[in-house]
Symmetry: C2
């Protein structure tokens, strides 16, 4: 808030003092996506956590727009990331599987080269592009970020628990040592994970500095707070919330560093920054997992806690400060938004599920979509339309419980009942019928792609 006041103050006194970068690049704003891993809806101060301190993210929300009904494309890593980077439900790209729901080290598959990633799209308009962090969309060379539209890459190719040095499951599977990549080269094996958030942040800042005079797209998918948890010396042991809090507070620091860099370089008014998470908290990890706040269940499920995540947009002078929106939006919409900002038409040879959020960001509209689909693997478990969510199937924990079919479907009014406590299907047959029609339209137009997550060599 204070910096905002100061900016306002200076701009009032010096109306002629504008950054040269604003006018010369206003047609192609920079895009920065900060993507936490397994951060829950309730895990930031501004989303109500009592003992995780996130002053930078709280301030980002105070200066920007906080979303209260923002969704991911799937409730586990790989398909969620595919949704973000393609703007499409992962069933359309084949980044789904009912049993092996993410890519594992033995996996041969990855995001098909036929998909047009956000990086590939933005490159057509001259954007510099970097992926810094956890990829998890295929680690065979042809699937790595530098073959998917990113000029540069630094990070772990998959989850940080896929380490034979750290987890028995990974050792039993015969996984190779956890690699840290630069481009397509392994530069370290089993890197000290306490350094990762700091190093990702330094790499990101360097990328911004290197590209301050041209449009850029920075995709920063953090390794944390996915377990196993690691924080740097500066954060470990500092949060009242324990190690999970230490890790989230370091991500908060990282975000503050990125925003400060943008401000220092005079790029803040020409950069669209979005912070969110790939799915809900990993509740079965107990206190090493996060919290979905008032939402039900977590990672891996299609209850709200699995797929509704914290989300903050920041773009000084374009997004009015302190706005809270309950508009429905998804990670796929970031794809459509970024393309719109760069003046790129959506591809016309495929379905894109994302919608442009720009009218919402600019305060010109209060709603941009009214339907959200909740897939678990290849199966449609639930659909939201307006305030209503209809479940065909629920499954309450991460790959351990059996699915529970609902016939007739279960129905919750999410805006009255965000915790999904009261099934009101019997009172609203008209709503059920309306959503069923929505589902029929969706299914009639759907062409599922072959699964890219089959891993017969491992089985």
């Amino acid at each position: 808030m204070r910096p905002f006041s100061i900016v306002l103050f200076i701009s009032l006194l010096l109306p002629g003092c504008t950054s040269p970068s604003v006018s010369s690049r206003g047609d192609r704003p920079n895009v920065v996506i900060l993507f936490a891993d397994d951060l829950g809806y309730g895990d930031l101060g501004v989303y109500g956590h009592p003992t995780i301190r996130t002053p930078n993210l709280d301030r980002m929300a105070a200066e920007g727009m906080k979303f209260t009904q923002f969704y991911v494309g799937a409730s586990v890593c790989t398909p969620s990331r595919a949704a973000l980077l393609t703007g499409r439900l992962p069933i359309r790209s084949g980044m789904v599987n009912d049993r092996f729901r993410v890519i594992f080290p033995p996996s041969e598959g990855g995001l098909p080269e036929s998909e047009i990633t956000l990086a590939e799209a933005l490159k057509t308009k001259g954007y510099a592009t970097a992926c810094i962090g956890k990829w998890h969309l295929g680690h065979q060379p042809r699937f790595l970020p530098t073959n998917q539209g990113f000029d540069q890459y630094f990070g772990l190719p998959y989850s940080n628990d896929m380490s034979p040095a750290l987890t028995p499951g990974s050792a039993n599977r015969g996984d190779p040592p956890l690699p840290l990549l630069r481009g397509t080269e392994i530069i370290e094996e089993e890197p000290d994970q306490r350094t990762l958030t700091r190093r990702y942040t330094e790499e990101a800042i360097q990328f911004i500095r290197d590209n301050k005079d041209r449009p850029f797209f920075l995709y920063l998918p953090h390794t944390f707070p996915h377990v196993p948890l690691f924080a740097s010396d500066a954060f470990e042991g500092k949060s009242p919330r324990g190690l999970y809090g230490d890790v989230v507070e370091e991500l908060d620091w990282s975000t503050g560093q990125i925003l400060a860099t943008l401000r220092d370089l005079g790029l803040d008014e020409n950069t669209f920054v979005f912070f969110t998470s790939d799915n809900g908290p990993w509740l079965t990890e107990k206190l090493e997992g996060g919290s979905a706040g008032l939402l039900k269940d977590g990672k891996g499920t299609t209850w709200e806690g699995g797929m509704r995540v914290p989300a903050i947009a920041w773009w000084p002078d374009t997004i009015a400060p302190g706005k809270v929106t309950d508009a429905l939006a998804t990670t796929m919409d970031l794809y459509a938004t970024a393309l719109a900002l760069a003046g790129i038409a959506l591809p016309d040879d495929r379905v894109v599920d994302g919608v442009d959020l720009t009218p919402l960001l600019r305060g010109e509209s209060e709603q941009v979509r009214d339907v959200v689909f909740y897939y678990r693997g290849t199966r449609l478990f639930a659909v939201r339309k307006g305030p209503w969510k209809m479940h065909f199937i629920t499954q309450s924990a991460y790959v351990r419980d059996e699915p529970v079919p609902h016939d007739p479907p279960a129905l919750y009014h999410l805006e009255h009942d965000p915790s999904e406590r009261f099934n009101v299907a019997a009172d609203h047959p008209d709503v059920i019928a309306d959503i069923m029609q929505e589902v029929e339209r969706h299914r009639a137009a759907l062409k599922p792609a072959p699964s890219q997550l089959e891993i017969p060599a491992w089985e």
Copy 2:
């Protein structure tokens, strides 16, 4: 945020332009306590609710201090209010009972006249005092606010469901028509409850205006969001959260009106304003009750959801803007704080459980207390010391379930585990032993007062 910026801006340009009220009354700041009824920890935007819109309270927090670990003195109305107004655990004043936990219309009892209410204490320093709203500390004439230190009173003497016109329980009990009082006179029976929040607010603003040139204490215990819910035409049907949201959004409006009045009169920098709730959400009322967010259970219990509540302090130029504190604090501390601000010594003939929060508010200290007691009626159910909470007994719903004794006691690390999911008693016998010593000290010094809530005439 914007108004804060503007105030800052003006004070920078016009350093000599200070309100005359600041200097002449700086030794006796005004005290305003805004007290919601059954509002849960998760029910405000700034505490993470997705569809209840509270821009005024969110801004109050952005300009002031948000507490994340703030407690009431009991998890139901009557003893909670007694704790706030006496600074003492309600077991010390007798405002407790294991079966009839609040005052009912047939009750003869009330807050003993021997108690020194916050209003009585502040009057010794010349404060004008008003209680506007729900009293619930005895409605026989000698117990009414105007006999407990308040110069004026307007409101309902007890809960709004104690109305034979609205609830069968009240009709069956033979309750009189729900009275609206001014002073000790009934001015309306069964008033239109849709008007109450608006009328309380208007009365409060008038009181502030009438007393702008002298120190004042405004105690505004709202009737809502206690059920049955009512909102005015301007709010009914407007919140995405439904009627509960309408009601909370009207309280948010009310708070905005109070703060705006203080600003308009130039009193903001000389007024300590505190917003909180008397206990957690009434979960058994389903969607007419609120949400405790990530906290467990609600009203009536000694789980966190029953006794930890939203709490926001506001005092421009004394409290730094945007501070979030995880310091332990309680409603009883507001008593000690107000007395300290007015330069009044705590009474030396009785135990006062409240501690002065001023060092915390002024940023001179990060912690002011480390122990919180959780009573249910006359029985000590749980104790918090530092991050640890030890339960002797738990009881999971509002007067319906049986108490569950824990021997050895259950132990939770609330800062790691705010949702009270993992009992770690077996791992921490030293913590149990330390808290047991705390309990022994507490019990050795405790002199329970005779219960004032016995109602033999009714039984």
